[in-house]
Amino acid sequence: MLEIPQDLYDKIVAHARADHPDEACGVLAGPAGTDRPGRFIPMTNAARSPTFYEFDSTEQFGVWKEMDERDEEPVVIYHSHTATEAYPSRTDISYANEPGAHYVLVSTRDAAATEFRSYRIHENEVTEEPVTVVE
């Protein structure tokens, strides 16, 4: 299950909407071992594509180093799909390399409603989990 504060949920949705039609991507960092997302870190999509995302490698290094120094880990890794459903593609599954993270997918294919779903991806298997938005 993913428990996520309302303000972080809103920030992810706003980021996805702002970058549409390109895919948006980013991280929610949280204290290591707590599974609690606390810090919103939108990332540059170096691919700037409507169908692909990739963290800029230098930016990723900085963020991962900072998380390490703060004793945090990536609790959520999020990205958006802009014309398809909020479900992990084969590509998403192949490149899911943070076994402890919740993979959040947002879809901005409908201008009126944003889809927001969360998954665990482990050894090429996808398991959807419920999302609970808290205050």
């Binding site: 490698s57 890794i77 992990p88 590509t91 998403d92 192949s94 490149y95």
Partner: protein
């Protein structure tokens, strides 16, 4: 000559869980070969026929080695090499 190498979570199965290991070599390529001698199979996750694997990032201190000399990048005692799997994906099927 010891170079510190930081290993991401997903590759720690090759290092018995260690998040940091040490190796020697004068280039990144030599260092990876040395690491593979100590932790068999690790090199294959980082390198393929074309050189460094596309979706694996390797950094020498703070720089992505793709902006240096790739596998030919010189390394020396006291350097830190960090490995991070790229974070990527999207609706595209590759």
């Amino acid at each position: 000559m010891a170079i510190e190498v930081r290993i991401p979570t997903i590759l720690r199965t090759y290092t018995d869980g260690a998040k940091q290991v040490e190796g020697t070599g004068s280039t990144l390529g030599e260092l990876l070969a040395d690491l593979d001698r100590q932790h068999g199979g690790l090199r294959d996750r980082l390198v393929d026929d074309g050189g460094l694997r596309r979706f694996v990032n390797v950094y020498l201190n703070d720089e992505d080695v793709r902006f240096l000399a790739g596998l030919d990048t010189p390394v020396k005692d006291g350097d830190t090499v960090t490995v991070l799997p790229a974070v990527a994906g999207g609706a595209t099927v590759i």
